[in-house]
């Protein structure tokens, strides 16, 4: 077991450096850099800039150096000082921007994950145990709609309905009055009255997918010999179902923990923009468009690392759940 954990951990570190190189290279791939984009913006606005100023800007941002030097400097600052560089766009340290937005994203993802499990697992288990019942068919139908419906349309429709029915405008994570205010009970309640909508919207597709996955997995397991064996031992249906097949059906749920975060961030980006949530997805989109390379690269790196950690956790959980993995 210790060997297994150590190996996973080493692989994780190697992958971390791989991700950092990849994310740095990818954000450099589009032609031009931040300075050229910036100058273009100024020129369209009618401002003339001389070549000396351009050089000064390039020097200031370190853009005159070759790519690998830039990468090494960037990584050294991250590892030694926890500094991710400066965002050109916001003219702020990247760390500040990430610190402001990451908790919203991670919090939203965790709540959405909880929502997905709480809704999907009971439905999936019931559907599998009552295959081809009315309940099963109804949820299959709802599930496919949930998978097919684009999140941003669902978000707009929900906002419209909520506003029409209650007069409460759900935009952002907080109502206008609480933005920038210190935490208080009022603010927590306000958060709860707003957060459900992005959670439902970003979680719906995942819920529908998980229902299908767990239902199918459980149906497979229910037909296996060991279920009949358990029945032939004289166990009650409830005991044997929970002990044997349902536990097996949890495997894909656990192995998906690590993949849930990137899926939610990717899937929620447009939703976050529609709902005006200052999460990390919308910051990433802006940074990529503006070629704000340190911000974009750092966000990709941070999300990548969180995914690695998530995968590591799900590997540990799987090993705990399934002895065959532990010894492999």
């Amino acid at each position: 077991m210790a060997h297994y954990i150590a190996r996973r951990f080493l692989i994780m570190i190697v992958l971390f450096f791989g991700i950092s190189i990849l994310s740095f290279v990818i954000i450099q791939l589009p032609p031009g850099d931040y300075v050229s984009t910036y100058i273009q913006q100024l020129e369209t606005a009618g401002v003339k800039i001389d070549s000396q100023a351009i050089e000064r800007l390039k020097l200031r941002y370190g853009l005159d150096q070759p790519m690998h030097i830039q990468y090494v400097k960037w990584m050294r600052n991250i590892l030694l000082h926890g500094e991710f560089g400066r965002s050109f766009q916001y003219d702020e340290p990247v760390r500040t921007i990430i610190a402001e937005r990451l908790p919203i994203t991670v919090g939203l993802s965790l709540v959405a994950m909880l929502f997905v499990w709480v809704v999907a697992l009971p439905i999936a288990i019931y559907s599998a145990l009552h295959k081809y019942s009315v309940f099963d068919y109804v949820w299959t139908f709802i599930g496919f709609i949930g998978m097919a419906l684009p999140g941003f349309i669902f978000a707009v429709v929900l906002m419209y309905l909520v506003y029409n029915l209650t007069g409460h405008a759900v935009t952002g994570m907080f109502s206008y009055a609480y933005v920038g205010e210190p935490w208080s009970w009022g603010k927590v309640l306000d958060l709860l009255s707003n957060i459900w909508l992005p959670v439902v919207v970003t979680g719906t597709a995942g819920t529908a997918g998980l229902i299908r996955l767990v239902r199918g997995m459980l149906l497979d397991e229910l037909g296996k010999q060991y279920v009949t064996t358990a029945r032939a031992k004289g166990l009650s249906e409830r005991t044997l179902l929970w002990k044997y097949p349902i536990r097996m059906a949890f495997n894909p749920v656990v192995s998906n923990i690590g993949l849930l975060l990137p899926a939610l961030v990717g899937g929620s980006m447009i939703v976050a923009i529609v709902l005006n949530i200052r999460d990390i997805g919308s910051a990433l989109l802006g940074a990529v468009l503006a070629e704000d390379m340190y911000l974009a690269g750092s966000i990709i790196l941070v999300l990548g690392s969180l995914t690695l950690i998530g995968t590591f956790i799900s590997d540990l959980a799987l090993a705990w759940l399934d002895p065959r993995i532990r010894y492999a």
Partner: protein, 340 residues
């Protein structure tokens, strides 16, 4: 001989898309205490469904218990014999049948590789049976489990009890399966193709183990197999099944020495012989019909080389008749033939 279980005219039908498959269609036999009854037949002849019906673990739907009785005689309590229970009338999810499963009737299955759940230790899964039925403490169940594993020939049982199934080989899993089936000293052990998925070298060991345990515990065994060698090793009495019906039933020696039904004769002739001249292996002509479209009359008549037109292919189904003491055959009598 005291009867332990009597199966009377059992019918199990499966409602499938193609129609109704009569997997078991009027099967009767009984097993006495401490006797071994072998049921042989080709794949799909209904022998496994019959065995699973006894414990009521045939998935339903699609299966439907279409008729008959399975009478199980409970243990006599201080000389008083309680009336037999008809297992077919019990709720398959109810408490009454659960008290019989694992406790009165143990079962071992064909596939030792998948018979244990992969997420729990072998010991845990055997102890579970003991705790469920005998309400013992966990420690006591564990001691009994180790003893059982030792008895079925698992080396180093104190350690192996905590192993997961994937650490056991196929033969060892089947031994552990036998230990599990015997954990509450059942009076009947149903062995559904216990050696089919096991290496030939281990097959003999498993059969020997079953024989020893039968002698030691006094339990009865219902042995389901398609392997004539297996059944000849162990069985006192043999039932030959074909397409959900009993073709012939006789004491083992009688059946091998004096088979009467053409199907039984065909089966016995299709065994290769090691000594003697090399001849082409005989086979039963034709192939097994669809269980949804059984032939009229005798189900075997399209493949039978003694089939008589107008008799065997009529509307009438041949009855299972006792030709000589203990020897039952379901075949139309042949003119001038001895019995048949």
């Amino acid at each position: 001989m005291t009867k332990l279980i009597e199966i009377k005219n059992l019918r199990v039908h499966f409602d499938v898309d193609e129609g109704t498959a009569k997997a078991v269609d009027g099967v009767s036999f009984d097993i006495g205490e401490n006797r071994v009854l072998g049921v042989i037949g080709e794949s799909g002849c209904g022998k496994s469904v019959t065995a699973h019906s006894i414990l009521r673990i045939v998935p339903s739907p699609p299966a439907r218990m279409a008729g008959g009785q399975i009478l199980f005689h409970p243990r006599s309590n201080g000389g008083v014999q309680a009336p037999p229970v008809d297992l077919l009338t019990l709720d398959p999810k109810g408490e009454d049948i659960r008290k019989i499963r694992g406790k009165e009737i143990g079962m071992i299955f064909q596939e030792p590789m998948t018979s244990f759940g992969p997420l729990h230790t072998i010991g845990d899964q055997i102890m579970e049976t003991i705790i469920t039925h005998d309400r013992t403490s966990k420690a006591e169940a564990r001691t009994r489990t180790i003893e059982l594993l030792r008895r079925v020939g698992i080396p180093n049982p104190e350690k192996r009890v905590d192993d997961y199934p994937h650490k056991f080989s196929g033969g060892m899993r089947q031994r552990a399966m036998i230990a599990m089936a015997l954990s509450c000293s059942p009076r009947l052990l149903i062995a559904d193709e216990p050696t089919t998925a096991i290496d030939v070298t281990v097959q003999a060991q498993i059969l020997e183990l079953l024989r020893e345990l039968k002698e030691a515990t006094g339990m009865a065994i219902l042995l389901i197999t398609h392997n004539l060698a297996v059944v000849s090793e162990l069985a006192d009495e043999i039932v030959v099944m074909y397409m959900g019906r009993v073709m012939e039933r006789a004491p083992a020696e009688e059946l091998f020495n004096n088979p009467l039904h053409p199907y039984t004769i065909g089966l016995l002739h299709s065994i290769p012989v090691l000594d003697g001249p090399v001849v082409r292996l005989e086979q039963i002509k034709g192939s097994v019909p669809s269980p949804c479209a059984l032939p009229d009359g005798c189900v075997f008549h399209p493949r039978c080389d003694k089939c008589r037109q107008g008799v065997c292919d009529g509307q009438e189904v041949p009855e299972l008749k006792e030709i000589s003491p203990g020897h039952w055959v379901s075949c139309f009598p042949q003119p001038g033939g001895r019995g048949l």
